[in-house]
């Protein structure tokens, strides 16, 4: 157990080694948060309500999503595919560590750092712009939000592992990562704007994929904008996806390792 903690600690240090890199990482997150914030403020100029949202709600959505991203998303597991492709992963197999646990602890280190600084950046934005925000008080929604968040984080981790496995078969691992983890998860998954703004057909379709359950639904539950039965449904569907992907990951990794020919000498 201790060795995973150590790996996490070393991973944390890596961030500080390239210190300019680190500063820019934070600036980047801040810019992303602020740019979306400013966009919605501009759209809402002179409007009280737009597409079913009050300004306070959509600003809460934008800032809240930034926080949720730091909790649910992580970047280390995305490197995994590249490692498979280059053969670097082979050296890990030779060491006495469980590779999934390893990546999990590296992700954890990433997340803790990210969450810490995101909260700081959030407070900065709130301090500068002083927006009106929505604060959830209903226990049911808060609790469901918490559970959904945990499921979301697990789901993201498992999906990363699932798509990383593409490194076993594809020479260009960037493409599936781009489509699923960037476009579908972040854009079509509510990471930029709430999905119910779009024509309802869209949400009807994407509800059946795992993607909106990582960012969109947790945020909607927090905002209290979906009915209680729907909350339960989304919790159940999240669970379903978590277990489903877990099994798929086990299978695909087993297959992948069997066929693996670890390139490089």
């Amino acid at each position: 157990m201790h060795k995973y903690f150590l790996v996490g600690k070393i991973n944390l240090q890596r961030h500080f080694v390239y210190r300019l890199n680190f500063v820019l990482w934070r600036v980047r997150n801040l810019v992303l948060m602020v740019s979306l914030f400013v966009f919605w403020k501009a759209i809402f100029k002179g409007q009280d309500e737009l597409l079913g949202y009050r300004e306070a709600q959509i600003l809460t959505y934008t800032l809240g999503i930034a926080l949720i991203r730091s909790i649910v998303l992580a970047s280390k597991s995305a490197d995994l595919a590249g490692n498979i492709k280059s053969g670097a992963i082979a050296s890990w197999f030779l060491k006495p560590v469980g590779i999934f646990k390893l990546w999990f602890s590296m992700d954890m280190a990433d997340k803790i750092l990210n969450i810490f600084f995101t909260i700081f950046e959030l407070l900065l934005v709130v301090f500068i712009f002083k927006p009106e925000l929505v604060f959830q008080t209903n226990l049911f929604y808060l609790a469901s939000f918490g559970v959904l968040l945990c499921l979301a984080a697990a789901l993201f981790f498992l999906l990363s592992l699932f798509f990383s496995a593409s490194g076993f078969w594809l020479t260009d691992v960037w493409a599936p990562n781009f489509l699923f983890m960037v476009v579908l998860l972040q854009i079509a998954g509510g990471g930029f704007f709430p999905l119910d703004i779009l024509p309802p057909l869209f949400l009807k379709i994407i509800k059946f994929t795992p993607f909106p359950y990582m960012l969109y639904y947790p945020m909607k539950v927090y905002l209290g904008q979906i009915s209680k039965p729907e909350v339960i449904t989304s919790l159940l569907i999240s669970c379903f996806w978590v277990f489903g992907i877990y099994f798929l990951v086990k299978i695909i990794w087993k297959k992948g390792l069997e066929n693996y020919d670890a390139p490089g000498s």
């Binding site: 390239y18 820019l24 740019s35 966009f39 020479t171 260009d172 781009f178 476009v183 079509a188 703004i197």
Partner: protein, 264 residues
């Protein structure tokens, strides 16, 4: 001239070779294109739905806003098509293989900037370009024939700004290896131009004109076509391009003197 011919030939050859390494996976190509399409469609719908309600964004009507969006995508994809090398520059430097490129008779920035052309960008670019022109023509957006000329000139101007920015990022890449995040910050600022930049506060627009000249790359060419551009902006655009291009070359030359080349 002969030099440029040789370099273009080399670039085409490199692009072909890159295509060969990519086409080994048809599935990956499909995912890539699908991803681009989905992203485009989603934001297209966002604009459409938002504007259906508000009818007007900072004084522009729906058609115009959509056109801004199209030019944004066009500029984005042209830059990605030409300058993708930046994204793979850091591993090149880390590993030390950049040395071998510096030794070859080609401009030192050739590999860092142009070294990774992706045919798929081209595949996405062509229909988008045609659609944009078609959209502008069929909706009567253009002010006059002169507007088209101005538009192309300013669009290319914008690409030059993009080039100098990518070169700047490469220089930073040599000095600190922090390439990825700067590119992402640049993309985040660039994404602000999805919508007419007039919607942002004065302060933001100043940043977007003089620091990350996104306004000059997207909004200005689009406005030029609409016949809404003043002489002031025209002059400013070219002036800033000259400053940026000149500055980025100077900085690149400087960063090469600091290049320390990974040891064996």
């Amino acid at each position: 001239m002969k030099e440029i011919k040789r370099l273009v030939k080399v670039w085409l050859l490199m692009s072909r070779m890159a295509m060969q390494t990519q086409i080994t996976s048809f599935l990956a190509a499909l995912f890539f294109i699908l991803g681009k399409v989905v992203r485009f469609v989603m934001f297209y719908f966002l604009i459409f739905t938002v504007l259906k309600q508000t009818n007007n964004l900072a004084g522009y009507n729906t058609t115009q806003v959509i056109f801004f969006f199209l030019i944004f995508n066009l500029s984005d994809i042209v830059a990605q098509f030409l300058f993708r090398g930046v994204y793979v520059f850091r591993p090149l430097v880390l590993k030390g293989d950049f040395d071998l490129h510096l030794l070859q008779p080609k401009p030192s920035f050739f590999q860092p900037i142009f070294g990774r052309t992706d045919i798929l960008d081209f595949v996405v670019l062509v229909p988008l370009a045609f659609y944009s022109v078609f959209y502008a023509a069929s909706n009567g957006i253009a002010g006059s024939f002169a507007s088209w000329i101005l538009f192309f000139a300013l669009f290319i101007n914008g690409i030059l700004i993009s080039f100098s920015f990518h070169l700047f990022v490469c220089s930073i890449g040599i000095l600190t290896l922090a390439v990825d995040f700067i590119m992402e910050i640049y993309r985040d600022f660039f994404n602000l131009a999805r919508f007419p930049t007039d919607i942002y506060s004065n302060f933001t627009r100043i940043i977007l004109t003089f620091v990350f000249p996104v306004v000059l790359m997207v909004t200005v060419p689009a406005k030029a076509l609409m016949g809404l551009l003043s002489w002031y902006w025209l002059a400013l655009s070219f002036l800033i391009t000259v400053i940026f291009v000149f500055g980025s070359f100077k900085f690149w030359k400087y960063s090469l003197t600091k290049y320390s080349s990974a040891s064996n």
